[in-house]
């Protein structure tokens, strides 16, 4: 029987994704309607108790057994998983992760589908990744995902400030500016 037809796999994997992500109290996890859009969750970042509008996406897949995973090398932390039927919309404009859970031990693994990155000029980029090499999903890994996402938005914001004549005169390197000043600039954009 194909795994996707076993009733509990997808639902249980999605519940596990919520359990893993909700270990942090600064994420707003929103399930997406439908199941075949290549995006199961939108995860919003909260800072100082306020929703930032910064999001990353998560697509979730399930495997019945951890025996379906293959270590990349004996002591490597990376593993290989054969993930089929992954349909991802190229136009998704934010970082996107793939989580895979094995049902017999409830372990999770992840890789980026659209990886947040920064080019040589300091501009935010999203790199499409289709290499099925995964890392173990744990609290540290989720911290890394959140940090990478947050940094990516910071870079985007900085680039946007640099190209906006209304904010250019106020522009200073990021480390000189505090969050309050940045919020003020963002408000000016809207006005």
């Amino acid at each position: 029987m194909e795994e996707k037809k076993i009733w509990y796999l997808d639902e249980r994997a999605e519940r596990l994704a919520i359990v893993y992500l909700s270990r942090r109290d600064d994420l707003v996890i929103t399930r997406q309607p439908g199941s075949d859009y290549g995006l199961d969750f939108l995860v919003g970042l909260v800072k100082d108790g306020e929703y930032t509008g910064r999001v990353f996406g998560v697509e979730v897949k399930a495997k019945k057994s951890h025996q379906q995973i293959q270590p990349v090398s004996r002591d490597a932390d990376e593993i290989r998983l054969d993930v089929k039927n992954l349909s991802v919309h190229q136009d998704i404009p934010f970082p996107l992760c793939l989580f895979v859970f094995t049902m017999d031990d409830d372990e999770g693994y992840y890789r980026w589908i659209k990886q947040p990155a920064c080019n040589g000029a300091g501009e935010a980029q999203l790199l499409f990744n289709d290499d099925n090499t995964f890392k173990r999903l744990n609290n540290e890994a989720i911290d890394d995902i959140v940090t990478a996402t947050s940094d990516w938005y910071e870079n985007k914001l900085q680039a946007s400030d640099e190209h906006n004549p209304r904010t250019q005169k106020n522009h200073r390197p990021r480390h000189d500016r505090n969050e309050k000043a940045r919020r003020k600039d963002r408000h000016a954009h809207r006005v």
């Binding site: 076993i6 509990y8 519940r15 919520i18 359990v19 909700s22 017999d104």
Partner: protein
């Protein structure tokens, strides 16, 4: 209890009750009834029981407050009104206490054995493989003993053959 804590507990319950423990598939199929549904959070069907589909109801109580020093009880409370309303369901009903830090759950019957509130929940029955199997058997036996008679409804289609 905050919404986030409650939702985390509900997801943990789903994961714990559907853990297959080496079986081909889980032995329970839970369905969340929604945040607006009063008193009970889940209806849970038993899988592979033959000619009938036994089920039970669950209310989930989630805490991050840990355990009492005396008796090692989970610091999650339930009030007397909820206990009385749970006992009104003509089906097996249970309370599941979830420790969201350890990500563990404990089940206790709520069929009217105790109608007062509880300020903490016992941890004698952790949701593990053994308890899953005992629960499955208990609920199956309950429905086996209930005499389900065929009945004739007023709402029938005379052309249906």
């Amino acid at each position: 209890m905050t919404n986030e804590l409650g939702q985390r507990g509900e997801n943990l319950f789903y994961v714990l009750i559907t853990k297959p423990y080496g079986r081909e598939k889980p032995i329970f199929r839970p369905q969340f009834l929604g945040d607006k549904w009063p008193v009970v959070d889940f209806i849970v069907e038993l899988i592979d029981t033959g000619s009938i589909v036994p089920y039970f109801f669950v209310q989930v109580k989630t805490t991050h407050s840990g355990y009492t020093k005396r008796g090692n009880r989970l610091k999650a409370s339930i009030d007397g009104e909820d206990m009385r309303r749970l006992a009104l369901y003509p089906a097996p009903t249970y309370i599941v206490g979830i420790d969201e830090i350890k990500e563990e759950g404990y089940i206790i019957s709520a069929n009217g054995e105790w109608l007062k509130g509880m300020s903490s929940l016992p941890t004698a029955f952790p949701l593990n493989k053994t308890i899953q199997e005992l629960l499955w058997k208990e609920v199956k036996d309950y429905w086996k003993k209930v005499r389900i008679r065929p009945r004739v409804s007023y709402f029938i289609d005379p052309h249906w053959r």
